[in-house]
């Protein structure tokens, strides 16, 4: 069996001391998985994803990420974990408006302390090309459609060669055709070996995942394997060197 990417043990989250949002979550995610987190509104999906993304801390329980216990880490250590091991894709795309496409993709490198130079720039351009934006390298987010912005966000989430990609409703703001394009891209990244945890409301979108976890009232209701939709024919291979190896 593949290595564990993350392991949650008895994770509880309270808001304002009394609101019990996550109730003893136990979850293990292994390398190469594509997990869809589903459930009704308010069931705690985003809260759980934020904890997985080291943006939030559980009230109790332990969280191992790549074998390290991150539930006791300081704010600065968590920042460093985020910059090194995690990639984020948001529903709102969340690109920085003052930056171009390439510069947006470069941001995670900055906070890893990597010196930006010709090589890193080439790599970011290649990633932009990978998500189909090779011709808009110097455009700013305002000049791009929602789907294009989300592709930039995907490229940005890949730039630090993360162990885990976290996506909170990545297609929530997109029409169905564009949603499919984005999901095909994620599915192919997963096929290349990227581990992905994605929150979604829609069954169609969840259908691209290999494992579906359903939540209700802060508990895991069900956890089943899924046969993902087949990838469209004739899609070109993704360049492996961009995705793997040390960041």
């Amino acid at each position: 069996m593949a290595n564990e990417v993350l392991e949650l043990e008895d994770i509880n989250k309270f808001y304002s001391g009394t609101l019990h949002v996550l109730k003893g979550i136990e979850l293990t995610v292994r390398e190469g998985e594509f997990l869809a987190l589903m459930g009704p509104s308010g069931s705690g999906k985003s809260t759980l994803l934020n904890i997985l993304g080291c943006l939030d801390k559980p009230t109790s329980g332990s969280y191992f990420l790549g074998g390290q216990d991150v539930s006791t880490m300081s704010d600065a250590e968590l920042s460093s974990i985020r910059s090194r091991y995690l990639g984020f894709i948001f529903q709102q795309y969340n690109l920085l408006p003052q930056y171009t496409v390439v510069e947006n993709i470069e941001v995670p490198l900055i906070y890893q302390g990597i010196r930006l130079d010709h090589t890193t720039k080439k790599r970011c351009e290649a990633l932009a090309e990978l998500v189909g934006l090779g011709h808009r390298l110097d455009h700013r987010p305002m000049q791009l459609s929602g789907g294009q912005q989300q592709r930039v966000a995907i490229a940005r989430s890949l730039v630090n060669r993360p162990h885990l990609i976290l996506a909170d409703e990545p297609t929530g703001n997109l029409d169905s055709k564009t949603s499919v394009e984005i999901m095909v891209m994620l599915a192919r990244l997963n096929q290349m070996g990227k581990t992905i945890v994605m929150v979604t409301h829609e069954n169609d979108i969840a259908g691209w995942a290999r494992r579906i976890v359903r939540m209700r009232d802060g508990n895991i209701e069900s956890d089943e394997a899924n046969e993902p939709w087949p990838l469209p024919e004739g899609a070109p291979e993704l360049p492996v060197h961009l995705l793997e190896g040390a960041a």
Partner: protein
């Protein structure tokens, strides 16, 4: 340059070098410039306080420097090792004793003999000064007769442009010679060479032996010392004046005539070195205060060195009030910038959330906003320095051109750029950036990343 300025320059260049050479610094700088450029008007308006503060400091300090130089020049002209004693007409002579035909007052030859007993005195130059028309044929000039001895030229560092000044021989032989001030010469001899021509004072003729260069007038700032314009003078030997005019002098003023008996109108006393100026001044004051010699206060004593000290005290006062003024204006400027930065931080909450999610530490966020404020105050400071320096330059230029003299009040000082205030005000501006930037930056850094990401 003073050590404070050097230290400030070192700190400034260090900060700039860091920003330009380190990768992080350069990126912070670039980001700051970009963010500021995004809101040009807002950035400019928030810098305005700093711009006004720095330029005001530079302009005011430069005016202080300029007026200080004017006063110092004036003192130097009077001589720092000199003591000036003058005869003063006591007020009661002018009013109650109107019928007294000859006003007798002032310094006497006895006084001068008494001063001679003070060993520290190296030179005494007595003068009799009275207004009298100088005539040459049909031309007349309202001049001031100065009867004095040859050393007068040394005391006042005079150089004749033509001919010579009075000599010991002139004095000993009571020669009928005179030296003309530049305006007197110009008025009486508009075209001809005045040397060896003769002019008339009263009924006697004097041969012109020399003409003096233009002399800067002294300011009238020293107590009872009036402003003096030397260019209308005519100089004759003291001995000649006693022989020709006698001890009594007829003064014609506004249609009335009055007689005066004054031995000497002024004695300029030179002391051997600067440390002796004050003690000698005190001794002379005590000698003159003797009621037997001078029952009325008919003399005045000026020590130019005292004015030097006054200047230094005024300078310290100006510095202090400028310091307060500058602190207030920079404080106001700083508060303005802080206000704008707080609004900026709120506006960019989401950006902070995104950066935090992508791995930025709190210190990265603090650094980013702090650099932005510092760049803002730094640019404000540079603009202020630029404006201040150009103002000083233009003002000084216009001041030096006679055709623009209508713009300036008579005797107003021309500013001289005060270099240390450039470094002070620049470093203070950047310092204000740090002090007032730290709170907004910390506030940004301590936002909860999740809430920041949810911010619209």
């Amino acid at each position: 340059m003073d050590p404070l300025s050097l230290a400030l320059i070192a700190v400034l260049t260090g900060a700039i070098a860091f920003l330009l050479t380190s990768d992080k610094g350069r990126r912070g700088l670039e980001l700051a410039l970009r963010s500021l450029w995004l809101h040009k008007l807002r950035s400019f308006l928030s810098m305005l306080g700093i711009i006004i503060g720095t330029s005001a400091v530079i302009i005011l300090m430069s005016f202080g420097e300029g007026s200080e130089k004017d006063v110092l020049d004036d003192i130097k002209r009077l001589g720092t090792t000199n003591i000036i004693v003058r005869s003063v007409k006591p007020p009661e002579d002018a009013n109650s004793n109107m019928r007294q035909r000859v006003a007798t007052y002032g310094l006497t030859y006895d006084d001068m003999e008494l001063f001679r007993t003070i060993p520290a005195i190296t030179r005494m130059v007595p003068m009799r000064i009275f207004p009298q028309e100088t005539r040459r044929g049909a031309k007349g000039h309202n001049s001031r007769v100065v009867a004095t001895i040859p050393q007068y030229a040394e005391v006042n560092e005079l150089k004749p442009v033509q001919g010579r000044f009075l000599t010991e021989d002139d004095e000993a032989l009571m020669n009928n010679v005179c030296v003309l001030g530049s305006e007197t010469a110009k008025n009486l001899f508009p075209f001809e060479d005045p040397i060896d021509s003769s002019v008339k004072l009263g009924q006697f003729a004097y041969v012109v032996v020399g003409v003096l260069a233009d002399r800067m007038p002294t300011g009238g700032t020293g107590g009872s010392q009036a402003a003096e314009d030397f260019n209308h003078d005519i100089y004759i030997p003291l001995s000649t004046s006693r022989g020709r005019f006698g001890d009594r002098i007829m003064i014609r003023a506004a249609g009335s005539r009055s007689m005066e008996k004054v031995d000497m109108h002024q004695i300029t006393i030179t002391v051997q070195d600067i440390d002796k100026v004050r003690p000698v001044g005190t001794m002379i004051r005590e000698m003159l205060a003797d009621a037997k010699r001078h029952p009325r206060q008919d003399w005045a004593l000026t020590v130019p060195l005292d004015r030097l000290e006054l200047v230094e005290r005024t300078k310290a006062n100006i510095r202090q009030s400028l310091g307060i003024y500058a602190s207030i204006s920079l404080l106001v400027g700083g508060i303005g910038i802080m206000n704008v930065m707080l609004a900026t931080v709120t506006e960019r909450t989401r950006e902070v959330g995104i950066r935090r999610a992508l791995g930025a530490k709190r210190s990265d966020i603090t650094f980013q906003f702090l650099v932005e404020t510092m760049v803002q105050t730094g640019i404000g400071g540079i603009l202020g320095v630029g404006f201040g320096c150009s103002y000083v330059f233009v003002h000084a230029l216009l001041h030096s051109m006679p055709q623009f003299s209508f713009l300036f009040q008579e005797g107003s000082p021309s500013p001289i750029l005060h270099l240390p205030s450039i470094t002070w005000s620049l470093t203070t501006a950047v310092g204000v950036g740090v002090i007032f930037g730290i709170y907004p930056a910390m506030r940004a850094a301590h936002m909860d990343p999740i809430e920041a990401l949810r911010h619209v």
